[in-house]
């Protein structure tokens, strides 16, 4: 049906993402696999059949399922309110939702500790709560992007025909959001299933993940066959979940729609209160740990102090003896921008394959697989492939944005694909019948969606980079730490200054994230408005 409106170049959009994944994912993994098998003889099969491995997998799956459910319960109302209604503070609320996603896990862990005290039982539920908190942005952003395009006309029809509000929601709204909900649920599940920092900080014996097992196996006992077996199981489970998610998303009906403008607040008083209350509650949930950080950044052994904030500019308070802690902000922002550009291009092109016909669609599926490759595996593989001759990229500073982009690309695909798939292609057909060339026709239909979706996903990719710790600590230069690396190093030594400066730096990280996301969101809404104006004229 869309054959006439698909420009030729679109058929080749898979080349760049495929090349990126081949060079920066498959090649490093191959180098790692060859190295490990050449150094160790056997042991892989024995490790794969160890019952303890599968027990951890099952426990992690139960934990991830609970985390996903809670993230959806908390995230869906937020997605509805924040991405659809026009009210004062909406942009801020939308940006705030992204904050938990960028907080380094060690910071989230300590903030949860200080919020819930030592009185709360450790373990399963605290981990689930923290995972739901961190992944709010994934649900709110991915589902919100689709919900924003949902006009609500069909619900009105259903209501006129006598359906209750709930029935209309369940029978009309939910099915039309299904692909986004499933896509975000799959990602939250995968993030929770492969979680490391939060599990180490807040977990107990029952809340181990395969990722924490891999850390133990590589970094403590140097059991590489065991680690390889664990990494393989993790990759299998994650790939299975992502494929199931993609299949479910594909089966769901997608209503063709164009991006819509934000709607006015509901007419009824209760409706308005509900919208405001949801947004406020969401902001409160997001901000509670941040407030704990703000307090920690202002408290010393002798009461309130601004000392930790002024120390941000002092070399002595840093961990490098070369520059003050604040230097890390510039480094992190530079990596985040580079990651956003790389991930938006690679992920965007991969997502485009999802709307093109033919076998190239596979790339959109393959592009989400890096989520399942354990971080330690990616780190070691990248180090062996690109950290030494003949391909020594370490000095170039490129390894970190590349590693971050690998994590971000799947998110970009997840954000972009549902929006692209549900775009009204009739516009392109109309343009084509009016004599537009395929590229022009394609741009008429997809232009705005692509720009809006690319901006949203670039913001998410930047957020991934801002909060990432493992790759930055493993592939970087010790002399230019990112903010999370600086924070983790500060929290790795005693002294109230270490804790206070780390908290202040985390608050700065939150502020930087908010500013970046606000800028990108504003840009996106300008695009939408211009599109609407063009459509009206």
């Amino acid at each position: 049906m869309t054959v006439h409106t698909v420009p030729t170049w679109l058929r080749w959009s898979w080349v760049i993402p495929a090349a990126f994944l081949a060079v920066f994912l498959l090649y490093p993994l191959t180098v790692l696999a060859v190295t490990v098998t050449s150094q160790t003889s056997g042991g892989l099969l024995a490790a794969l059949t160890a019952p303890s491995l599968w027990l951890v997998a099952v426990l992690a799956a139960v934990q991830a399922a609970a985390s996903t459910l809670l993230a959806l319960i908390l995230g869906l109302p937020l997605a509805n309110v924040v991405s659809r209604y026009r009210f004062r503070g909406r942009a801020l609320a939308q940006a705030l939702v992204t904050v938990p996603f960028v907080l380094p896990t060690v910071v989230v862990g300590l903030a949860f500790r200080s919020l819930f005290g030592s009185g709360l039982p450790q373990g399963f539920w605290l981990v689930v709560l923290a995972h739901a908190y961190v992944n709010l942005a994934v649900v709110a952003r991915i589902v919100g992007a689709q919900w924003a395009q949902h006009s609500g006309d069909y619900e009105n029809v259903a209501r006129t025909l006598g359906a209750t509000r709930w029935r209309a929601f369940v029978d009309v709204t939910l099915p039309s959001l299904r692909s986004a909900i499933v896509a975000s649920a799959a990602i939250v599940f995968v993030f929770s299933f492969t979680s490391l920092g939060i599990v180490l900080l807040l977990g107990d014996a029952t809340t181990r993940t395969l990722e924490s097992q891999i850390l133990r196996q590589t970094s403590v006992i140097l059991d590489f066959p065991g680690a390889a077996a664990t990494a393989i199981v993790q990759l299998l489970v994650v790939t299975l979940v992502l494929l199931l998610g993609a299949a479910a998303a594909r089966r769901s009906p997608t209503r063709r729609s164009a991006p819509l403008d934000l709607r006015p607040m509901p007419a009824s008083v209760t409706g308005r209160i509900a919208v405001r209350a949801t947004a406020a509650l969401g902001a409160l949930v997001v901000l509670a740990p941040v407030l704990a950080l703000v307090l920690a950044s202002l408290r010393g052994a002798r009461g309130w102090t601004l000392g930790w904030w002024t120390s941000l500019g002092s070399i002595d308070a840093g961990t490098t003896r070369l520059g003050p802690p604040l230097d890390a902000i510039g480094i992190s922002v530079a990596y985040a921008l580079a990651t956003a550009v790389v991930a938006a291009i690679v992920g965007g092109l991969a997502a485009l394959t999802a709307v093109s016909s033919g076998r190239a669609r596979v790339v959109a599926l393959v592009a989400i697989i890096p989520l399942g490759v354990s971080a330690a595996t990616i780190g070691l593989g990248t180090l062996l492939a690109f950290g030494r001759p003949p391909f020594d990229l370490r000095a170039s500073g490129l390894l970190i944005p590349i590693a971050h982009a690998l994590v971000a690309v799947p998110l970009v695909v997840a954000v972009a694909a549902p929006g692209l798939r549900s775009t009204d292609t009739r516009l392109a057909a109309v343009a084509a019948t009016l004599g537009a060339r395929p590229t022009r026709a394609f741009w008429t239909a997809y232009g705005t969606v692509i720009r809006v979706v690319m901006l949203a996903s670039a913001a998410l990719a930047g957020a991934v980079s801002l909060g990432e710790f493992g790759a930055a600590a493993f592939l970087g230069r010790a002399t230019d730490p990112t903010v999370p690396v600086q924070i983790v190093r500060l929290l790795g030594r005693p002294g109230e200054q270490s804790l206070g400066v780390a908290a202040a730096l985390a608050v700065v990280l939150v502020a930087v994230t908010l500013i970046l996301v606000l800028i990108v969101d504003r840009w996106g809404s300008t695009e939408r408005r211009q599109h609407r104006e063009r459509a009206l004229s």
Binding site: L215, R493, P494
Partner: protein, 360 residues
């Protein structure tokens, strides 16, 4: 004609000279690269997260030897060593610092290092001088993992601070101790090794007793110290596994005006000694520069910088310690330790056994 011939001859001579000069320059440049003349070489130092050295020392190294030091971050020591073991023979750096005695034999087995005996080795304290992994690494610093005590919180409990490992399983100290998971934390592993060194085959019973006495197991030092230890932040437990040098760090990283005494102290029994080494990575393109950096790490200036940069003790003999160290860092007279090869051979089994003892 004569002129022409002369001119011709001159121009030929000039060309030959130019060619010779160019050739000589190119050869010299190539030769310079191959022999890594110290005048302009860069040495990549792979170090763990906690490695810190003052900027002026790096500048001094450059001024004295021409070496530009590039410090690569290897994350925590364990992850760094894992990467080095996999890259053995074709390394990602020229020299590695920060591998400790629990990990050393794994790296030696994988031939990570090139043999090198630093001329500075003679200046190392006698106890560590022989500790070179058979001539492959050089001890740079050492520290002790010990139980730390939050003095005020301990007083509030109303029992005297514990003085031995045995005290920790005394019901008087129920629910007071937080340790780290030895499977994910370096001090946690050191504490497990301390109990193995002390109790021999009876160590699982000791841990069962600790468990019955309400020990809490945190995932990392950060979580234990700032999350559960009362002396670090929000926690409630007055006893934590940390370092003998944590009390001076509490003073150095305190708000001005600095307190005159630390709020924490150290139990000097049951401490496990960690020694950190540096070594030239086998297969480095710049072995000469790498050796110079090992010597530099053991030089008097860098060794004097080590205490306040990394909160460990210098391996070099006779280095003056900062006052905050001499006053408040605990001196451990009889640290516990285990032979590196014994640790390497048994670690996996010990961790599994520990898991069983702790019901994990």
């Amino acid at each position: 004609m004569r002129h022409r011939t002369a001119a011709h001859t001159i121009s030929r001579t000039t060309s030959v000279a130019v060619i010779a000069l160019v050739t000589a320059t190119v050869l010299a440049a190539c030769g310079g690269q191959e022999s890594a003349a110290p005048e302009t070489s860069t040495v990549r130092l792979l170090a763990h997260d906690s490695f810190v050295v003052s900027e002026d020392l790096i500048a001094e190294l450059k001024a004295d030897t021409g070496i530009t030091l590039e410090i690569l971050s290897g994350s925590d020591a364990g992850t760094m060593v894992a990467g080095a073991v996999l890259a053995a023979g074709s390394p990602t750096a020229d020299v590695m610092f920060g591998i400790d005695n629990t990990l050393l034999s794994r790296a030696l087995d994988a031939s990570v290092f090139e043999a090198y005996t630093s001329p500075e080795l003679g200046s190392v304290v006698p106890a560590l001088r022989e500790d070179t992994g058979g001539g492959f690494v050089t001890p740079i610093d050492y520290g002790d993992v010990c139980i730390n005590i939050d003095n005020a919180a301990m007083d509030a409990v109303g029992v005297p601070a514990p003085t031995t490992l045995d005290d920790l399983i005394d019901p008087r100290y129920r629910d007071l101790l937080v340790v780290q998971d030895p499977g994910t934390s370096s001090p946690g592993l050191a504490f497990l090794l301390a109990t193995i060194a002390r109790y021999g085959d009876g160590w699982p019973e000791y841990w069962s007793a600790l468990r019955e006495n309400g020990v809490s197991v945190a995932g990392s030092w950060t979580d234990a110290y700032y999350g559960e230890f009362s002396g670090g932040g929000e926690g409630t437990r007055p006893l934590v596994v940390s370092y003998a040098t944590s009390p001076p760090a509490e003073i150095v990283y305190a708000e001005e005006p600095k307190p005159t005494t630390p709020s924490t102290s150290v139990m000097t029994d049951g401490c496990y000694r960690q020694v950190e080494y540096a070594g030239v990575l086998a297969g480095t393109a710049n072995p000469a520069g790498a050796r110079t950096v090992v010597d530099w790490l053991l030089s008097e200036q860098v060794q004097a910088d080590v205490p306040l940069s990394m909160f460990v003790f210098p391996a070099r003999e006779g280095v003056a310690l900062p006052e905050v160290f001499t006053a408040f860092a605990a001196t451990v007279d009889e640290p516990l330790s285990l032979p590196a090869d014994e640790v390497a051979a048994n670690l996996q089994a010990w961790l599994a056994e520990w898991g069983t003892a702790m019901g994990r």
